[in-house]
Symmetry: C2
Subunit: 420 residues, 2 copies
């Protein structure tokens, strides 16, 4: 077979581990085996709106119903043509009104640009940074920052946060980030995977330092609206031309498959992002944009319900994990991820995940993908029975490993699914 040589960028592609795991586990499911999915932030709990009042009291009954219905109406209206590259004008307008009200300051439609949130990470990084630039990332970090930095080829500087400090961001961490003289810093409050929400004072400090150093900030606030145990401070409250706030409709509306997010930015940056979209993929679908537009008036109310749901479920989940003395987990204050410390088990996190899938039919993401070995990330936004069962499987496997700690390599039987 002829050898294919890819470009440096091509060779540097690593993708997102969660999607590799999704593919892998789907293959196993095709063999008829039941898999517990805790690998992706792929909310399945909206099904409870329809049926189970235990988990969803006082449902607003709007999104995703409202969003879905409007998307369907748009499809029936044959709104299946091209849209504006920067996003549907009405959506940018409505969103800017919503944001203006929220932040008590003027956010114009020219400050808002629509694109897939994950794509925005790449778009902004690539239009701002050269390969020679340093980019600071606080770890543990959402894998796309790491994958995108690697792809674009910038020199990524990982600034490790402290597990003992609940992975909170401190001024010292910020100072450390600036010591590498970065062109851009990623910050992700409402953090994925840790669930930490950063202090207003610290984020203000970050911005002040960035201003002085002429440094770009990408503030990924995808989970900002799902902060149930701490008051959330959005960097969109602050003014700085090189600050770009990214968010998404995926997690609030339980529609990650819509692939719609947005950036709040200086109009010149927003225009540049539109131009990037025009070049790379023309535009997002019209009908999905019309769908989320319909959801905006009830977004806050829906987020409120989501938060109640996740707060309650989070407690139940951490209770399950606490049954094993070999693992631990800082209680998240936002979103729906548990970043679980497995260091006591003396096993590589990737191996743990691969064994957990093979032997316990449970998919979680290794900490290594977040630049943080010795941990695993379990998502609890999936079907709730699966989530609880999956967490119990983690506990079973951890206990199994813990009890065998003295043996050199943990035994793994390949004969049957364990822990059930």
């Amino acid at each position: 077979m002829m050898e294919l040589n890819f470009s440096k960028r091509g060779d540097a592609l690593i993708g997102q581990e969660m999607f590799r795991l999704l593919d892998l586990s789907k293959k196993i499911e095709l063999e008829g085996k039941k898999i517990y999915h805790l690998e992706l932030g792929d909310p399945k709990n909206y099904r409870f709106e329809l049926g189970d009042p235990k988990y969803y009291r006082g449902a607003k009954n709007y999104p995703p119903g409202r969003v879905i219905n409007k998307t369907i109406v748009s499809l029936l209206n044959s709104d299946v043509g091209y849209a504006s590259s920067g996003g549907l004008t009405a959506l940018r307008q409505k969103l800017s009104e919503y944001l203006s009200k929220k932040f008590g300051k003027g956010v114009g439609a020219e400050n808002v640009v629509i694109s897939t949130a994950n794509m925005l990470i790449f778009q902004i990084l690539d239009i701002v940074c050269e390969k020679s630039d340093a980019v600071a990332v606080f770890t543990p970090a959402f894998p796309s920052y790491i994958a995108t930095c690697g792809y674009v080829g910038v020199s990524m500087v990982k600034v490790p946060l402290s597990a003992e400090n609940g992975f909170n961001l401190t001024k010292r961490d910020i100072d450390k980030a600036f010591s590498s003289n970065p062109k851009l810093i990623f910050v992700n409050s409402g953090n994925n995977p840790t669930g930490a929400v950063y202090d207003e004072e610290v984020l203000r400090y970050l911005l002040e330092r960035a201003k002085k150093r002429d440094c770009w900030i990408i503030s990924d606030e995808t989970y900002g609206m799902l902060s149930y145990d701490k008051k959330y401070f959005s960097m969109a409250n602050l003014d700085y031309e090189k600050l770009v706030v990214i968010s998404s409709f995926s997690k609030v509306f339980n529609i990650p498959g819509f692939r719609i997010g947005y950036a709040i930015a200086d109009p010149r940056v927003a225009r540049k992002i539109s131009l990037s979209t025009s070049t790379l993929y023309s535009c997002l679908p019209l009908f999905t944009q019309e769908g989320v537009l319909e959801g905006i008036p009830v977004m806050d109310a829906f987020a409120e319900d989501r938060m109640k749901y996740y707060k309650k479920l989070c407690k139940q989940c951490t209770d399950i994990l606490s049954r094993s003395k070999y693992i631990s987990c800082t209680k998240p204050v936002s979103a729906f991820y548990l970043f679980i410390d497995i260091r006591k088990l003396g096993i590589d996190d990737k191996l743990f995940c691969s064994n957990l899938l093979e032997e316990y039919r449970t998919v979680v993401t290794p900490g290594a993908s977040f630049g943080w070995k010795g941990f695993i990330r379990a998502s609890f936004c999936g079907a709730v029975d699966d989530v609880k069962k999956g967490l119990k499987q983690i506990v079973s496997y951890a206990d199994f490993l813990g009890r065998n700690l003295r043996k050199k390599s943990p035994p793994v039987k390949k004969s049957r699914t364990k822990g059930e």
Copy 2:
């Protein structure tokens, strides 16, 4: 205001002129003015399926009905979560079966990868080429090749085809392309904007030369199924590890807003593209993929109908254009674009387009965007009354300019919409 410095890639972004024109014309429409849209390949003719038998006899009544309905069913089933980065497995499978049958050779699911077709242009170029590489593009060319080459920063070599030869590709053009020692060559049969369909013999020659020179080929066959006046030869019939065939569901199913296309490639290239998708934007929506999947069994029949429709309409459109002696147009043998020669008018094509929009409320795309000055591209896939009216406006403006040819600069009155 603080100056914002973007990266070299950021500075090189030009986007697609059609989308700038779309935004511009929509602004004018907001003022309540009627605009004739001929700027984008945005098919609106499916509305005729419902009503007008004159344009749509024997409608199969499947896609987009079938595609739309299935998309709606998927939305109602809450298939709004993440999908595989390489595309829905069932879609890749079904598509590979369809393609195997079509080309009489084994195309496996591992040869097929789903992504937005426009995005694939960037994805492949970026994972194959370094900035130092030469990339050959036959002009006139689809603006995304030009925009993407500029963005990625490769050294683009334009190989001009001959208007007098109906913009057909010849062996001599291919030799010229290879003389620049390109890493990759774009070829686009079922050409946008010229409507030319290249000879099998010439495409085979291209492939043989590419093999000898170890050169990548991106064969964009988005309009391959809409070749109504010449037998179409797909490069997917040929075998070569560095050949990537791109196509799309947009034009056959009249659903460009679905943003779904695919590539047929060596499995290693397909996997690399999946990894690119995983890194850049995670995945495409599940429900839209399920929609197009439902359309595949009737794709050929639907394309057949589309061809009949476009063939007939094309004749009517070129008849309208022939009313002016100042402009001319090679009759396209595929797709739905007219590449109109305005050189006799002695006016810059961008100025022509801008005046045509302002004075005649008609949007077309300047040839300059296709790397070919002195021409304009008019799309005839829009609402048919608009198309015909728009073409008449072009004729009116051309005649107006033609009659005033002796004057130094063509007079443009700003008082009222002309030609109606």
